[in-house]
Symmetry: C2
Subunit: 200 residues, 2 copies
């Protein structure tokens, strides 16, 4: 870890608080209810410090999505490292990913995607960031599943898993869909295991 | 068809214009940019007539979602009736459904789902409506695929197909995802065909 001055450490802590507060604010109030003023107040950061680190709402939310996607990926890696090998590993991994797609970061990201649809500036910034986040999520999933993408159908099955989880995340937005999701994913895990095993 | 007076016919035509304009407005401007004034102007309907038929924004968008979900289902049924029987029928049906999940009605509905997440009144109205629309879409898909839900795994496979398509619809929001979607769905169709055939 690089050596940081106390000032740099304070700056990073301030940034982290602002980014966490941004996601909380998007989850609670949505895109239209999220303002830099509200975020600064929630983070307990002065307006001046907020403007210094993230001068615009767009810069704040972009940084928040990037930061939290990284943190989420790290959490998934850490949790996955604790899973025992064996037949239940795939099931547990899918459950972990499903939790990520129904959690606060997914909800915050969805707020941004929908807002960016009708906001050209936000969209221009978000599209490359989301492409990167999407590629990294795909790579992470392939790694965790130990999937061999050279086997026909495996790449598509991993992609379908993530797209299915995105769809399930949206289905869970307005009401608790966990009962239906659990039954559906139980069936999908069996199919996915079959596809992944086909090249082994 | 019931006999209608000219006045009733005019009313229905006015309502249909308002509902179409509502969806167009949601697609172009999003939830926050959609107002009853803008919708009335776009539909070429007087403010008084708009207020008479749909006094609030919420009543307008609810009616629009219900009306257009029905129209969409009818279109899918009509198109599906023209498909030849045989091995390509399933593929064509999935393509039709994928088109529905990337089209204007899906985008308009997504605007509402996300807005309803942080708007208690809208949410209370939307949740039962969406549950009904979802059940009808599931039923329609089962019928069109000729799926036998008594066969183990079939019900979950049909649900997973619709959830996957919802996820693919979101993936297509900000940029054209059709290339990736086509490859992914080609693999999905083969898997779905296997599951559906397992009980036959």
């Amino acid at each position: 870890m690089p050596v940081r001055t106390p000032q740099q450490q304070r700056s990073r802590a301030t940034q982290a608080r602002l980014l966490e507060a941004t996601v909380e604010c998007l989850v609670e109030r949505g895109w239209s209810g999220t303002t830099t003023t509200v975020v600064a107040a929630r983070a307990g950061v002065s307006r001046g410090a907020q403007l210094h680190h993230y001068p615009t709402k767009a810069s704040l939310v972009m940084a928040a999505v990037g930061h939290l996607a990284e943190r989420r990926a790290e959490e998934i890696r850490t949790e996955a490292a604790l899973l025992p090998a064996g037949t239940q590993r795939l099931d547990r991994l899918i459950d972990m990913l499903a939790a990520a797609f129904t959690g606060p970061l997914f909800v915050a990201a969805l707020e941004l995607w929908v807002a960016a649809r009708t906001d050209a500036e936000l969209r221009a910034a978000l599209v490359p960031l989301e492409a990167k986040v999407g590629r990294e999520m795909h790579r992470l999933t392939v790694d965790l599943l130990g999937a061999d993408e050279r086997t026909p159908g495996v790449r598509e099955a991993v992609q379908a898993t993530l797209d299915l989880l995105r769809g399930l995340g949206v289905a869970n937005l307005l009401s608790d869909d966990s009962h239906r999701r659990t039954a559906l994913l139980a069936a999908w895990k069996r199919q996915l295991a079959t596809v992944l095993a086909s090249g082994r």
